[in-house]
């Protein structure tokens, strides 16, 4: 008989044999421990959200996110073009940090989530490693912080320069939401479960 820890309260249960349409729930907190095809459902949900985040990621970093008009000079920039400009101007540290934390890490996180939940390109043996990388990278993917930075700018610079938020902001918000949903629905237990 299989044993499983409830991922909410940690109590270890023995799993009874389940009929289709039945679900094992924790005796202490009532959280679902497993459903038939649990892995499939959970993984599919994560994959869907991760895929949505991946789709939205490109317009979020490529479309113009800000249009600044200062003293008649108009400038339009996307996240990527802004980062590249920072690097071109020799701001290696700032440019590198922005590039790493708002482009590379989020993309890596989304791709790894997608890999774990849907693609399974890598061998099963690497699943634990992938999961670990994903968890570490995920901590440093700070798209949501970037969003906050834009808000701060909106409040602070509103009187100095005239600026408009571009279409990328919508994509950005949606991308942040979708990647959060993906990591929330992601159940690390499920990936080790034998199908």
């Amino acid at each position: 008989m299989e044993h499983r820890a409830c991922h909410c309260c940690g109590l270890i249960h023995r799993l009874p044999s389940l009929m289709p349409g039945q679900q094992a729930v924790c005796t202490r907190c009532g959280t679902g421990i497993s459903v038939p095809g649990c892995r499939r459902v959970s993984a599919s949900r994560t994959a869907a959200a991760a895929f949505a985040a991946l789709v939205l990621f490109w317009p979020a970093i490529l479309c113009p996110i800000l249009q600044i008009e200062k003293l008649g000079h108009q400038q339009q920039s996307s996240i990527l073009s802004g980062t590249v400009e920072l690097l071109c101007h020799g701001n290696w540290l700032v440019g590198g940090i922005v590039l790493l934390f708002s482009v590379v890490f989020p993309l890596t996180k989304i791709m790894l989530l997608l890999e774990l939940s849907l693609l399974e390109v890598l061998h099963r043996r690497h699943k634990a490693l992938t999961l670990r990388i994903m968890e570490h990278v995920g901590k440093w993917s700070m798209m949501d912080v970037m969003l906050l930075a834009f808000l701060v700018m909106l409040v602070k610079l509103g009187n100095l320069v005239e600026f408009h938020l571009g279409p990328a902001v919508v994509a950005f918000i949606a991308c942040v939401a979708m990647s959060m949903i993906a990591s929330l629905t992601f159940d690390p237990h499920a990936i080790f479960e034998d199908s």
């Binding site: 039945q22 729930v25 479309c63």
Partner: protein, 504 residues
């Protein structure tokens, strides 16, 4: 699951180290109607939604652009990519690239016009770089001193074929605002401080400006090209005289010092005055005529100059409409006198008064107009009482035609009216009282000032001229002298309410 003991088979280890009874058996719950496939697909709907959203966002952020053109300028003046092309103060395009041509003799500017700026690439369109210019003629382009430069544009004929390559001007064309003026050449013996942009005045009023000043072919004279505004065409006749008014004359004599200057502006900028004495040939002339330009006017010219009709037709004589408007402010009734202009007309139904909206009498149920007086400029007046609103013909745009029974007042016949089809050059006419005879006062309204509005059906008059004294005045087309509408001062500003077929 960890197994601390290194030895033994897996099954045996789990049997021994973890007693099954130590862990509770998980409860089993029925999950209603196996949602397997549905739950699999639910999140994918969101994904689909996100996909559509992403596609939509990419679509909107794709730059929509109109025609692309290149303009050659002899001088770049610091123009940069992303600078704008503006027409009438708004952006109609963007500079994409600024390069030198191969011979290093000019600057090639690539411009992406906005989709709405499609007409601006017609042949004959003129472009120039707006930059701050400070000269005695005035200051222009001051906004570009701090901000970025921009390219000004003056559209050509909209029916001309579209072009791709344009030659930019070095400065804004002097005639940018006054099109189709009358171009004349004045031949003088010196420059006398004249330069492009100097005004041409008639009794101190600007009627045109100097376009170019250059030497004649034989280098004995200076040829000054001037442009007389369209609406002052009629002032220039074959007998017209032109003289220099730049600077000022100081005449020191026994009687004291006599200073003679036209105005500070002509003193600094230089200028040309123009008068048309009546004797002599007064046939109208066309463009390209040459006149002598003298240094001083002959006194006889000014004395001989009689009236030159600015308009080639007789103007309708208007009357004043006076009354009181009662309003209630916080429950306290107050009355305010008002005066507006009206026009008496004779139609098939008798005498009518054509004017702007009038206040109703205090008791609204009757729907009668409040009492008002029609006053002629010579002083005589007649009171009009108890006119039911239903007998009047009121139009949506605020004009009112009231049947009145008056006689002996100047009236306009219905043949003098015309229903206009589009905004055109016109003048607002009202009659002012004077000692001898009533004099018409005109305020000209340019075609460029008029813009159609969808809301009121009127033509909004732009510009900063005050028309408040002309409320209700008839508007006469300059082309044929027919009355085409009424000038009203709405809340939104002055408008011309054109006549329509039903209030003819």
């Amino acid at each position: 699951m960890k197994t601390p003991e290194p030895s033994g088979s897996d099954a045996a280890v789990s049997e021994t180290t973890i007693p099954e009874s130590g862990f509770p058996l998980a409860e089993v719950k029925d999950v209603s109607a196996s949602p397997g496939l549905l739950r699999l697909s639910k999140m994918w709907w969101v994904t689909l939604l996100c996909l559509i959203l992403a596609m939509g966002l990419v679509w909107t952020s794709l730059p929509d652009h109109g025609p692309e053109i290149t303009i050659r300028f002899p001088e770049g003046h610091g123009l940069k990519p992303d600078d704008t092309v503006r027409y009438r103060g708004i952006e109609v395009g963007t500079v994409t690239e600024v390069t030198l041509d191969e011979a290093l003799s000019a600057v090639e500017v690539s411009v992406m016009l906005n989709p709405g700026g499609g007409v601006l690439n017609r042949e004959g369109t003129r472009f120039w770089i707006v930059r701050p210019q400070l000269s005695l003629m005035g200051i222009s382009g001051l906004e570009t001193a701090v901000g970025s430069k921009y390219i000004g544009v003056s559209p050509g004929d909209p029916t001309a074929p579209p072009g791709k390559h344009f030659q930019g001007l070095t400065a804004s064309p002097p005639d940018e605002l006054a099109e189709n003026g009358l171009e004349l050449i004045l031949r003088g013996d010196g420059r006398h401080g004249l330069s492009a942009g100097s005004p041409v005045t008639w009794r101190g009023i600007d009627v045109g400006q100097v376009l170019t000043v250059n030497l004649s072919a034989d280098a004995r004279h200076v040829d000054v090209t001037v442009r007389i505004d369209r609406r002052y065409h009629r002032l220039v006749r074959r007998s017209s005289k032109f003289w220099i008014t730049s600077g000022f004359d100081v005449d020191v004599g026994f009687s004291g010092v006599k200073l003679n200057a036209q105005s500070l502006s002509t003193m600094i900028r230089g200028g040309i005055s123009l008068i048309t004495p009546t004797e002599g040939d007064d046939a109208p002339i066309g463009s390209g005529h040459m006149f002598p330009l003298v240094q001083k006017p002959v006194t006889e010219w000014l004395e001989a100059a009689d009236n030159v009709p600015l308009v080639g037709f007789s103007l309708p004589e208007t009357v004043l409409v006076q009354g009181t408007r009662s309003t209630t402010v916080f429950g306290i009734p107050r009355s305010r006198a008002y005066t507006q202009v009206g026009l008496l007309t004779v139609g098939a139904t008798g005498t009518n008064l054509l004017t702007a909206e009038l206040p109703l009498a205090a008791d609204e149920e009757d729907r009668t107009l409040a009492e008002f007086r029609i006053q002629l400029m010579t002083g005589e007046s007649v009171a009009v009482r108890d006119v039911a609103l239903d007998d009047c013909l009121s139009s949506d745009n605020g004009t009112l035609r009231i049947p009145v029974e008056v006689s002996g007042f100047p009236t306009a016949a219905s043949a003098q009216f015309r229903v206009p089809t589009a905004p055109e050059e016109c003048i607002a006419v009202r009659t002012a009282a004077s000692e001898s005879k009533p004099m018409p006062i005109i305020q000209s309204i340019d075609r460029e000032q008029l813009s159609l509005t969808g809301l009121t059906g009127g033509w909004i008059i732009s510009g900063d001229t005050d028309y408040s004294a002309s409320h209700g005045a008839p508007v006469v087309a300059t082309s044929d002298g027919k009355i085409i509408g009424i000038l009203l001062n709405n809340k939104s500003g002055p408008v011309v309410a054109p006549l329509s077929d039903d209030n003819r």
